[in-house]
């Protein structure tokens, strides 16, 4: 059997059963799932009924908001002065509210009913004068006081008064806007109410369009692209650095346990290293899969939180690039980490040198915005060709644009050469490190040691 396969199998078996590995790989996902479902159960037990309708949620707000209407027309009378209505939607109505495909006369009527200013009578208190309102604020009867100025129709001006630090007062601006809209729309007929009310609450949904190189218009999906770049980058970095960490620990263990001299009379350093790096890669990948899988599963269960991710498309080319660069990046950083491990006398000492590799490798993260906005710009292209930054940079670019084939091929060729160099370097360090038992080499000695 090939030596690297024997090393690979041994390392997988040995590293897999380590308590720290098992805890991170399986323990954390299990704990996260337990916490998630525990919280769900708690929510289920503590909530009498689930109400997902936004209007109904606003109606049940917990703040105490006072207001004074100074408009000469008296546009905003006290909420309790409106005709009483049933503010809570029935289960049937709630289902209707959540169905938002088409405008519907019945739904519009339900929305008009439950968004009546009357339904906010628990939340809003009308005061006849500014003095009266301020006295109530000082007495602590209300969290915040809004004064609708006399020229509101012309200027839209509303003054707000708070007293000291009051968290309840912090998010009342939108509630006040909602109350104003409801009051102003009270005379609108039911059939038009839904579109008018909902449009005024969310006046514009901006959709970006970007002209590509050929002048054709393509839909801009910057938020999703940013998220995709970020997710791909994180996935690669976590797995590469975790795996690299395992390789380094394993390399240091060879030296700390003083078995390296026996190993080197049995197996070539490159075969030993290859087995270790691939084993660490496999285990790191498994770790990434369980952790991100758990995160995505919990996210999918939360539904609305991950709604924005729903239409993200990951193309096949990006996935293949991720796989290729995952492997090449792993071998490259694994080789460098192993070289650091081979040079160090202890794990603690090795950890001091890890940043020499990890910091440059993470550089593309510092330019995340550039990668999102100009993925084919000079900086992004250069970073995606330099072997130290390429694994992250190329994957981030490919996530949002189609990288020109020439650049992709050149990047992979350079990365393969860098992998060969890193593995060779680590192999040399393995070979010479036994001459350095007990001390780190001086920087100036390293080239001579590498030459052997």
């Amino acid at each position: 059997m090939k030596h690297w396969i024997v090393v690979f199998r041994h390392e997988v078996r040995h590293m897999f059963v380590r308590k720290s590995y098992l805890f991170i790989t399986f323990g954390i996902p299990i704990l996260a799932l337990l916490a998630f479902y525990g919280y769900r159960l708690y929510q289920h037990l503590s909530a009498d009924e689930e109400d997902t309708a936004t209007i109904a949620e606003v109606n049940e707000g917990s703040q105490a908001i006072g207001y004074v209407d100074l408009t000469p027309q008296g546009l905003f009378p006290a909420p309790e002065s409106y005709p009483p209505v049933k503010c809570e939607p029935s289960a049937q109505e709630l289902a209707l509210l959540n169905f938002d495909e088409t405008m519907d006369r019945t739904r519009s009527a339900v929305i008009k009913r439950i968004s009546s200013p009357y339904c906010l009578r628990e939340l809003f208190t009308h005061y006849d004068s500014e003095e009266e309102g301020k006295a109530a604020l000082e007495a602590g009867d209300i969290d915040v006081l809004y004064v609708i100025e006399a020229d509101f129709v012309e200027s839209g001006e509303v003054s707000v008064y708070t007293r000291g630090l009051n968290l309840q007062a912090a998010d009342t601006g939108q509630l006040m806007e909602d109350y104003l809209i409801r009051s102003l729309l009270v005379s609108v007929d039911a059939p038009d109410y839904e579109s008018l009310y909902l449009r005024l609450r969310t006046p514009a949904v901006v959709v970006d369009h970007r002209l590509n190189e050929t002048g054709a218009v393509e839909e801009s999906r910057e938020d999703q692209e940013f998220l995709l770049v970020y997710a791909f980058g994180l996935l690669l970095m976590f797995s590469v650095f975790w795996g690299g960490g395992y390789v380094m620990t394993s390399a240091v263990a060879e030296k700390e346990s003083r078995i390296v001299e026996v190993m080197l009379t049995t197996v070539r350093p490159t075969a030993l290293l290859l087995g270790k790096v691939l084993a660490a890669g496999l285990l790191a990948l498994l770790q990434v899969v369980t952790l991100t899988g758990t995160l995505l599963f919990i996210g999918s269960q939360l539904g609305d939180v991950f709604e924005a991710l729903g239409d993200i498309e990951v193309n096949l080319r990006a996935l293949i690039t991720l796989a290729v660069y995952f492997l090449l990046g792993f071998l490259f950083f694994g080789g460098l980490m192993a070289a650091i491990g081979a040079m160090s006398t202890s794990l603690r000492e090795a950890q001091n040198f890890v940043t020499i590799v990890t910091l440059p490798a993470a550089i593309p993260f510092f330019f995340l915005t550039i990668f999102t906005e100009e993925p084919n710009g000079t900086l992004a292209v250069v970073l995606s060709l330099i072997p130290l930054t390429a694994p992250l940079a190329m994957v981030m670019r490919q996530a949002v644009v189609t990288v020109p084939t020439f650049q992709l091929v050149l990047g992979i060729v350079l990365q393969v050469l860098a992998v060969a160099g890193a593995v060779w370097l680590a192999g040399r360090m393995f070979r010479v490190n036994m001459l350095l038992m007990g001390h780190m080499p001086k920087l100036r000695d390293i080239p001579r040691l590498i030459r052997g």
Partner: protein, 313 residues
């Protein structure tokens, strides 16, 4: 060279290794014959470990060449060698049996074969019950025995051991010694590097003494001792030793019972024995040639070099 190429386990020819300005091994040549127990000795820093590392292809010589088991060392050759370095090491967090199986597989054994052989050897050295223990749970002596097992597990043709008995108590020393004798009887060549001269006298067929990277003594252990033998005899008994014909100096032995009789240049021990046999004035309980121990030879050779100049590694 005395032996033909096929009889040689190792042939080192004119090998030199330098570290910067320091010459660790200087134009060294020697041979190890197949099936013999060969000892390498020398003071600390003499170049023994560097020589062993060059034989094992861990280090490349700057000059000269080395043949191992009939040719330049290859990966296939390495699988036929068992090596136990002075810097002993084992994976501490791994179970004894798992580690031995791993090392056996790296040396070309199948998993089942390595397991069966490891269990048999662990049984042989009294560690069968520790097969599932982690290495770090074993005592130092136990770890030493596991290291010896790891060295011979794959039935090598050549065993190289640096200080084979360090850290072992007398009982375990005998056990390991028996194991090595057994391997040697099966035709395995053994090279041991040690400071324990009495072990060399007892076990080795031939020796190489290195000092400052040079071979200072090389050959059959018995012949080397004879070469350093003084023209003297050791006797124990009664009589006027100074009155014997041909005796020029009489030195009392350290134990107070025997005496060393230094003889005139033209007198042989046989002449003295004949004189003692024919004279009723002497009663003899012991008569032997005054052959120095390897320890004395070591001190004489190395001490002589030190006296003649500065002593380096």
């Amino acid at each position: 060279m005395n032996a033909s190429q096929t009889d040689l386990a190792i042939a080192v020819r004119g090998v030199t290794k330098k570290y910067g300005d320091f010459t660790a091994v200087d134009n060294l040549s020697f041979e190890v014959r197949r099936g013999e127990i060969f000892a390498m000795l020398g003071p600390n820093g003499a170049g023994k470990t560097t020589t062993i590392r060059m034989i094992l292809d861990i280090l490349k010589p700057d000059a000269g060449h080395i043949e191992v088991l009939g040719g330049p060392i290859t990966e296939a050759t390495k699988a036929r060698i068992g090596y136990l370095p002075e810097e002993r090491g084992l994976y501490h967090n791994v179970r004894v049996l798992d580690m031995l199986v791993y090392l056996g597989q790296l040396k070309g054994l199948s998993g089942a074969e390595a397991r069966a052989r490891a269990l048999s050897l662990l049984e042989h050295v009294g560690l069968a019950e520790n097969a599932r223990s982690k290495v770090k749970e074993l005592s130092k002596g136990m770890q030493q025995k596991v290291q010896v097992i790891a060295t011979i597990l794959h039935r090598p043709d050549l065993i190289i051991i640096d200080e084979p008995f360090s850290g072992l108590d007398p009982v375990n020393t005998e056990m390991v010694k028996d194991l090595l004798y057994e391997m040697n009887r099966e035709g395995v060549t053994i090279i041991m590097s040690t400071h324990q001269m009495h072990q060399i006298e007892e076990m080795a067929n031939r020796l190489l003494m290195i000092n400052r990277g040079h071979a200072v003594l090389y050959g059959d252990v018995h012949e080397v001792r004879q070469r350093f033998a003084k023209n003297a005899v050791i006797v124990e008994g009664e009589g006027d030793w100074a009155a014997l014909p041909g005796v020029v100096v009489v030195e009392a032995g350290e134990n107070g019972r025997d005496v060393l009789l230094r003889l005139a240049e033209d007198v042989t021990p046989d002449n003295v024995m004949a004189a003692l046999a024919t004279s009723p004035a002497y009663r003899i309980q012991r008569f032997e040639l005054a052959v120095p121990s390897l320890n004395e030879i070591f001190i004489e050779v190395v001490g002589g070099v030190r006296a003649n100049g500065s002593f380096g590694g």
